[in-house]
Amino acid sequence: MFKPKTKAQTTTLFAWALIAPAALVMFWVVVWPLYETFRLSFTDSTLGTLMGGAEYVGWENYEKAIGGRKFPSIVTRTFYWMFLSVGLKVVLGLIGATLLASNIRGRGIFRALVMPPWIVPIAIGCFGWLWLYNGHFGLLSNFAEMAGITDGPYSFLAYKQSAFYSAVVTDVWIGTPMVTLFFLAAMQGVPRDLYEAAYVDGASRWYRFRRITMPQIMPTVISMALLSAIWTFNSFEIIWILTEGGPRGATTTLIIDTFKTAIFSYKFGAGATRAVLVCILLGVFSLIYLTVLGWVGKKYGYAGVQK
């Protein structure tokens, strides 16, 4: 049996003992599923071969997935969905945080009112939106008709474009509160003396926001935008509950396509291939995003932005 002979060895052993439980958990929760997904992606695993018997098929699944006639449009749609949704969340989050940070009466109440979309379970919120978007019984359609915008019922989820943008609106509604709160927390950390000095120098509100607030909270904005991008890219429940990826694939993103292939059609090998592709695409996107922002940070000197 190994017995540590020196104090350094004892320390090393003790350190390993301390991290072992966490490492084991990480292995079972992260490493093993990732490895299994990767392995499955090279097999023809289906419902019948789940308990054994799946055969190695090499790159066949990847060739079929990438060469499929719908794949390019699904990837484009996924990135468009992500950029649009995250962009709106960041802009609305900034506006919301700025308003909530301002010194107005009842600020606490407004801050509390921002929370519900985030607190309410996503499924419940989506069912509410499902009703709002309904053509014959929905609130939005009825308001539009009463206001003379439409001349009859309009089912928002029945048409390709309106279904896509309706899903974006719901995603933004659910995702904005958290972004707002993160930005608000960052804004509250900006030293007050910077604002006071600028105020004394006669700087306008907009100038102070642009030259003090934004640079100071930029690290938070960048981190939040990246996290939000990853969550939005992989956002499943909202689209699934509202449209299940339809009509005619108009709201099918990569994660919906992965679910439909792996779970809906029991093609676990082909589904795992899509999951691996999602990881690769997100990894590449994150790398590009951080590289570009690192370069921008260096050039313009945003605090905390480092490559």
């Binding site: 419902l47 014959h136 089912s155 339809g246 009509p247 005619r248």
Partner: protein
């Protein structure tokens, strides 16, 4: 201390005694979210026949039921039997998760024409058919007459379209309710029209996809035409939502099963008529069944098989059909003098059985739904010509066969 040891010993003995009793349990998943009283009667009779055997019947809503049965089986913990859509049987059978069932010649002769085709694959039966439905057209006569038309059954698609257009143009309601959401009953609605136009989906004997045909193109084009007189945004609706619109007086007519009358408001004056014939065929219907499938490798496979047989034969099956309001799955007139389906209303659902077509069996049945629903949504949303959309759907179907 002595008492503690005794207690532990007794606990082990007790567990040993309980174990064999637990093994004598037949786990049944019943899709639909409820155990029908007619089925419960069979469970009670089964337990009385096999003392010590417990039927653990678990009602699961349709949305998750089939997936649950399949996932449990794939994970090596199969249920004894499950009441599931027959369209899943081919996939389950070819995956080795269910066992073929034996249906006697006598019983085979009793089934309505076409019913056994919904559970057959590779020359074997993969489930006992347990619930059967055909479809017909429900017409709100109040709306038709308000539109200045006589409320009589349209015999052809042209007659159907003209009636729907009259309602659409002359009342505040839409002419017809059209389901086009990505749901199974959207595909079912289409198949009712397709089978009424002489079309087919696949050749069960050769496995060849026959979907890409002039009859299918004609049917899809007609669906596109109907969308012009249907409720706004058909792609957002499935059949149960059409029932709500029908009850609300917002659509003049729609296709539903025999349970439709029980779901409709009493104040609606309606007629129920066969699905009108297309230009290339005669009035037909889709034959859909749900079945009792017996899973391979459960603790009590033989008991599960017998329970499935008891549930699907004789008086038990008759009670279920009658109490549930289903199209008769067996030709009960060969078994008894009085049958519940002798009225005109029922004949609308029974008479077309011989001209009906089965819900096709596909190994990847989700591909079947995706292919057909994609074509329906495509024609409604103006994504292409009927011919192109049918060709595209046929490709998807070929992948799923």
């Amino acid at each position: 201390m002595k008492n503690i040891k005794k207690a532990i010993l007794l606990a082990f003995i007790g567990a040993g005694l309980i174990a064999p009793v637990q093994a004598e349990e037949v786990h049944a998943i019943i899709c639909g979210g409820e155990i029908r009283p007619a089925d419960q009667v069979v469970f009670d009779a089964f337990e009385a026949k096999y003392s010590g055997v417990k039927v653990n019947a678990e009602a699961v809503p349709w949305g998750t039921c089939q997936d649950k049965s399949m996932t449990l089986a794939a994970a090596g913990d199969p249920v004894g039997l499950a009441y599931i859509g027959s369209r899943t049987l081919k996939q389950l059978g070819r995956s080795g998760l269910i066992v073929p069932v034996d249906i006697s010649d006598e019983m085979q002769a009793l089934y309505q024409p076409g019913v056994l085709a919904t559970v057959s694959d590779g020359g074997q039966f993969w489930g006992y058919p347990h619930a059967f439905s055909t479809k017909a057209l429900f017409i709100n006569c109040g709306l038709v007459e308000a539109a200045g038309e006589a409320c009589v059954a349209p015999r052809t698609w042209e007659g159907l379209y003209n009636m729907a257009k009259a309602v659409n143009d002359n009342t505040s309601a839409a002419g017809i309710g059209l389901a086009a959401r990505d749901f199974d009953n959207t595909m079912h609605q289409f198949l009712n029209y397709l089978y009424s136009n002489g079309g087919t989906v696949s050749n069960a004997d050769t496995g060849e996809i026959t979907f890409n045909s002039p009859e299918t193109v004609e049917t899809l084009a007609f669906i596109g035409k109907l969308a012009g007189v249907a409720q706004e945004g058909p792609s957002g609706y499935e059949r149960s939502q059409l029932t709500q619109l029908y009850n609300d007086g917002q659509i003049g007519m729609y296709i539903n099963g025999p349970w439709g009358a029980g779901q409709h408001n009493d104040n609606i004056a309606e007629i129920v008529v066969p699905v009108p014939a297309g230009p290339s065929g005669s009035s037909g219907t889709l034959l859909i069944t749900d079945s009792m499938a017996v899973f391979k490798g459960s603790a009590n496979e033989d008991l599960a098989m017998e329970l499935a047989q008891m549930m699907t034969s004789g008086e038990a099956q008759y009670d279920l059909d009658m109490s549930w309001g289903l199209t008769p799955i067996l030709q009960y007139e060969k078994m008894r003098d009085d049958v519940y389906y002798s009225t005109d209303y029922w004949q609308t659902f029974v008479e077309p059985i011989g001209r009906g077509g089965p819900e096709p069996m596909f190994e990847d049945f989700k591909a079947l739904q995706a292919g057909i629903n994609g074509a329906i949504q495509g024609i409604i949303l103006g994504d292409g010509s009927a011919a192109d959309l049918v060709a595209e759907a046929a490709e998807t179907l070929a992948e799923g066969l």
